[in-house]
Symmetry: C2
Subunit: 344 residues, 2 copies
DNA sequence: CTGTTAGCGCCTTCAT
DNA sequence: ATGAAGGCGCTAACAG
């Protein structure tokens, strides 16, 4: 591998000069400049990244650690993150935290060690305290995505999950459903809690009593959606609508419903969450809530880059979800064509 | 950030000694060893990764560039790659090639510059010639996944795509289907070509003439599966079975069939490819071909690590797909209960 | 066992 | 406009 010294010798100049033409810093006579370029060409010279980063104390890259690589959601996130980072002329380094806080923590540190200019962290289970400790223990600026850490509000980019869930269930209710079951995503995460809370608040708003039997605690996977829906059925709990806290589980649930001879939406209405790509192609099309994940990650990257550049930042307002209505919901038993809409 | 010098001063030893305890190399008296540890603790010392890599000429990490981050397929790939890499005590650095050969090429070079110990490349569109040139132009060993580059056979890890597709269509035929339509994935990729060729060969084996009207060229997306299936219907081509070259398009197609009032599998049988997680939860369950992607990437990483360690490697036999039969296929019009199976 | 010294490849004052 | 020299933080002989 040709080094800068090789180039300088070949071009008959000093390393300093080569460095100058390489970085476009300082003044270099056009003619010598050309010689240097020529020498670089001939030697197939490519600067050593590590050496450069070491000297500069920056690697011109931003790090991203996600809780997992799996699922359409993260695929989209990564893809957009990559684009956005590159549009800033930086490189994205991504790492899988395996959904384990300790692992995510190590991943962040490793990115810190690699001299990333900034780090973006997506975590589901890490505690706020740990996040704060992390922010303080590393030298690289950190922005947290999908979490609202109150002590570092301006480092956070997140969705209004609770409100989105609320909207979905509220919609179900205004469509005449009162017996609404719910299958949650992991309830030990802020996201899981928030979605369930949105469900609860919607019921509350309409004076529908909470029925513990109607909520089943899931983990986000299709298979669990299936099992929990079966459990609901086996328990004989009555519901005219089912709110699944993500589309994957909604799909699993739909299978259980089908096998029980229940039709969607005639017998039970189904509402998902995330608006997976498949939602619109299922039969019937799955109503779901869309989360502007692309916007969110783009914003997070921008924020990270500002931080990296030492620019002033301000808190990002939460992103909001929107309902995507398709065909998996039908007016329920309590539907009133022109309900006097008890708009609170 | 505390440096090694700080630690050495605090511990009253030299940098060399600190380096020794850090790497467990050479002999160090237990007592001084403890002092050094203590000093590191107190200073919250963390070795500078770049400096270390620069001195070592290795970053103890392996690079992976995928054609895109999107889709369940790559999610799974990345996840497994990450696990496997870490099980070898190395770090995985992944990069999105945006499905653009030039981009993928740059990504590989960038990983090369970063002193990765080895690089794994997943590309759909890059030409073999370019791949070969790349292998020769970089200093890091490269292993290619999902492609069979004959000039570098021992660097390749791939599936027997054609055979898998053949199996699927052959199965359809033995089930009594002769009018089988096909929706392809991008035909300019080896994968796309191979799957279509598998389809062709299966027809050929059974003496079914090729009918150009029955094959539609797709791009892998759900929406195109939908559109192409609609086109098939609009063109009035007759088919009792549809072979979609991936599950996403199969899903899109199923929507088109449904809207046309055609039932799966009663009116048309459907076969997918990839065995997406959703396949088994759809209604009816989608028959598909499973590709042992986890094994493949695991093997690729292992191969990469051997290469990195200068160990001898041998060519990896191609992986084979297996049919996963669910409920989307029914016996077709030519079905014979105990066909004299013209086993070739 | 431990310290000294010389790099790894590049950048950056400071002179000239 | 260019060169010399020192430094980024760590590793690796080579002496003691």
């Amino acid at each position: 591998m040709a080094t800068m010294l090789d180039v300088s010798l070949r071009a008959g100049v000093s390393k300093a000069t080569v460095s100058r033409v390489l970085n476009g810093t300082g003044q270099v006579k056009e003619s010598t400049r050309q010689q240097v370029f020529k020498a670089m060409e001939e030697l197939g010279y490519r600067p050593n990244f590590l050496a450069r980063s070491l000297a500069n104390q920056t690697s011109n890259s931003i790090g991203l650690v996600v809780s997992t690589f799996d699922g359409f959601y993260f695929g989209r996130l990564l893809q957009q993150a990559s684009r956005q980072t590159e549009s800033h002329g930086k490189q994205l380094i991504v790492t899988d935290g395996h959904d384990i806080p300790e692992h995510e923590e190590r991943a962040v540190q490793m990115l810190d060690d690699r001299q990333c200019d900034a780090i973006v962290l997506y975590t589901r289970f890490m505690r706020e305290k740990t996040i704060m400790a992390l922010i303080e223990s590393i030298k690289t600026p950190l922005v947290v995505i999908n979490r609202d850490v109150s002590l570092a509000r301006d480092r956070c980019v997140f969705f209004e999950q609770q409100d989105a869930a609320f909207q979905a269930v509220d919609y179900l209710i205004t469509q005449g459903h009162r017996d609404i079951a719910c299958i949650t995503v992991p309830i030990h995460t802020p996201t899981g809690k928030a979605r369930l809370e949105g469900y609860r608040r919607a019921l509350e708003k309409h004076g529908i009593p909470w029925d513990q039997a109607r909520v089943k605690y899931g983990n986000a996977e299709m298979s669990l959606g299936y099992e929990l829906c079966q459990a609901l059925l086996a328990d004989n709990v009555r519901f005219s609508a089912l709110f699944a806290c993500n589309d994957d589980m909604a799909l699993g649930a739909s299978k259980a419903l089908y096998q029980a001879g229940l039709r969607i939406p005639q017998d039970v209405s189904l509402f998902g969450f995330d608006d997976a790509p498949s939602a619109r192609w299922l039969e019937p099309g799955l109503s779901s809530v869309y989360l502007p994940i692309d916007n969110m990650i783009t914003t997070a990257i921008d924020q990270a880059i500002k931080l990296a550049g030492g620019q002033p930042i301000e808190a990002i307002p939460p992103f909001t979800g929107t309902l995507v209505l398709r065909d998996s919901v039908m007016p329920g038993p309590y539907f009133q064509s022109s309900s006097s809409d008890s708009s609170s």
